[in-house]
């Protein structure tokens, strides 16, 4: 008798536990807000502005998904995560989506059980040094002290790079970009290494950006993209196709300026399908017909978002480079909306 009560209690407990982590879409709708993991602050990618509103390239992805799912780009709870806390935050369900300069790697996808929904920035790891050091190549860095963020691909690439080139270094592990910046500027390390985009963003916030150079070597591939947990493919689809919608919108010429006009109907069926005037794409995702339209209106299409946050006319000044549309010689190539 005692035993069966015990077993009964166990099953009840088990059932109660099992319910959590079912459909993320329902959870987000019930909550009325998207919990989105971002950086602790990297200007251009994700940082709160003077009024406390988060802004940036990665933030744009969060807002687009919130707009698609909830109809309100502002319905996002931003959860700042460090390199070390981000995966636990996602795996534990604290956040629904992680958009934090995160590199898509085999082990994160397969072993850590995450699902990368696409790539929003093709990047690679670079090095920044003070000009006064007179260093012109990363191979000259023998014996240097290097600041790195822990829990990143950066520290693995760095170890490989120095080992393969048979030069030594002293790693200084650091938790956030802000601390790394402070340490680097104080001269506690000679070199700061992270994704080249992150270097550009960090350097842009220096008082004298011109005193620092980014070395020519790019030592890794860092395809950065948003990701979700394994095990909820429907939610993954929503995030993936929201990102694809932003990219496709640029390719097809849908902009914040002309989107209202285009949603009256065009003679390009793909535009019509994206904007919901033709076909049932929204319903297939479990959303309404205007999901993608709202996502694009949240911060503009991919190109607009890029130019506004990290593009050449911002202090960060990143060129499109690999992140141009395939039609312009870049790598952005979204599967067709059909």
């Amino acid at each position: 008798m005692k035993k069966s009560v015990f077993l009964g209690a166990l099953t009840v407990a088990g059932l109660a536990a099992g319910v959590a982590g079912a459909a993320t879409l329902d959870d987000v709708k019930a909550r009325g807000a998207l919990n989105c993991g971002v950086t602790t602050g990297l200007v251009g990618f994700a940082a709160p502005d003077a009024n406390g509103n988060w802004d940036g390239f990665d933030v744009g992805v969060c807002r687009a998904v919130a707009a698609a799912v909830l109809g309100d780009p502002m319905a996002v709870n931003f959860v700042p995560t460090t390199g070390q806390t981000r995966f636990t935050a996602l795996a534990s369900g604290e956040i629904d989506l992680l958009a934090r300069n995160t590199t898509w790697t085999f082990s994160r996808d397969v072993d850590l059980k995450f699902e990368f929904v696409g790539i929003n920035y093709y990047d690679g790891q670079g090095f920044m040094v003070p000009k006064s050091l007179g260093v012109s190549s990363a191979k000259e860095l023998d014996g240097a002290t290097v600041c790195i963020q822990t829990g990143t691909t950066t520290e693995l690439n760095l170890a490989d790079f120095f080992r393969v080139n048979n030069i030594s270094y002293e790693p200084v592990p650091i938790e956030t970009n802000a601390e790394a910046q402070q340490q680097y500027l104080a001269g506690a390390c000679d070199v700061y290494t992270t994704d080249a985009s992150g270097l550009a963003a960090t350097r842009a916030s220096f008082e004298n950006p011109g005193d620092h150079v980014v070395l020519p070597e790019i030592i890794s591939k860092e395809p950065l993209g948003p990701l979700v947990r394994h095990g909820d493919p429907e939610w993954g689809d929503i995030a993936r196709w929201t990102l694809n919608a932003l990219i496709a919108a640029e390719e097809l010429g849908i902009t914040s300026a002309n989107i209202e006009e285009l949603s009256a109907g065009t003679n390009n069926p793909e535009i019509n399908r994206i904007l919901g005037t033709e076909g049932e794409l929204g319903a297939m995702l479990g959303l309404d017909a205007e999901w993608a339209k709202r996502a694009i209106m949240a911060g503009g299409n991919y190109g607009e978002l890029f130019e506004k946050t990290i593009g050449e006319n911002t202090p960060i000044g990143l060129a499109r480079g690999l992140n141009a549309q395939w039609t312009d010689g870049g790598l952005l190539y979204t599967p067709p909306f059909r």
Binding site: F6, A9, L10, A13, G14, A16, A17, G18, A20, G21, G83, Q84, F87, T88, A91, S107, D111, L112, K113, S132, L133, L141, D142, G143, A144, T145, T150, G151, E155, L156, L158, A159, D160, F162, R163, Y169, E170, P171, V172, P173, I174, E175, Q183, A186, G187, A188, C189, D190, R229, H230, G231
Partner: protein
Amino acid sequence: MTTLTDPPKESFRLSQLIYDTRYRSLTIQVVAMFLLVLALSWLVSNTIQNLAALGKDFDFGFLTNVAGYDINQRLIEYDSTSTHGRAALVGILNTLLVAFLGCILATVIGVIAGVLRLSKNWIIARLMTVYVEGFRNVPLLLWIIVIFAVMTESTPSPRDFREGGSASMMLFDSIAVSNRGVYVPAPIWAEGSAIVVAVFLLSLVGIFLFRRFARARQEATGQILPVGWVALGLFFGPALIAFFLMGRPISLEYPELGGFNFTGGIQLRNSLIALWLALSLYTGAFIAENVRGGILAVSKGQTEAAFALGLRPNRTMSLVILPQALRVIIPPLISQYLNLTKNSSLAIAVGYMDVRSTLGGITINQTGRELEGMLLLGLFYLITSLVISGVMNIYNNSVKLKER
């Protein structure tokens, strides 16, 4: 003939389980136990369910996989091709190192501050009060970061040591204080140095034996031997003689500026120093209070009696007060050591690679083995704490009141 009758035979009623004091505590214990088991089983099954939902298993195999990351402070051989298990070991040693250094310094600081806080000198007593209250009442993490920040911001970078730079080395160019750490000369052990070390260790044993002898003699005859001087002589004398006899086998390697950093010598990284100082100052403040409480617990009559016997204040303190105060001081001191050891897990704030940063940080992050990693981490701290309190309890038993 007996007038006593048998008490009426009670029949057992269920309500007795609650209202009858004979059964009540048993009932409560059974219910509490049941709830506890229920809670535990819920935790376990919840974990299993959630792991299954995430498609994860429970496996410690990751410890044998290549770690892939570098660690700056290594007490044992390690590079990025070593395993996660080895990285954990490097972290464990770093934790033990800072905990060991911290416990020693905290005790020294604590005893001095605790005694001085009772000083009759107003300024000294007040200063100690400021120290104790300042460190006890501000979170440790802040102190760690403040000390680290001061050390990095206020010291010159290695570049400044170059020809024509603004900084220079200290003590005949043997020590360099930079914003990456303090570089001190490293000993180089040539042939024959083993003998010098052995002689030194033997003289330590000699000091210990002499102290015992002196104490026994004092207890038997009341005569006091000059223990301090003899110990000092034994500490340096034989080792120095052996050193010169063996043809000076131990030499020093001085830190020198080479490339980006100093090379040679031993680097005490700022992260280690900041963590060590912060832990020691913080815990020292608590120990000071324990020491003060212990001394105050010895009644004033003891001091007066010692004075009446003609003992000088120093002797009164070391022969009469402290031995009695120790009995009060040691037990809380054990908890302070445990606190210090566990608090060292704040190391990552300054990038000190302790076990929390290697196994509990980077390894977990790269392998996604949060549960396994955290369990191992918990187990490590548990074992360390048990060992520390075990050792300290042995010491406590040796100083506690011996009832004869």
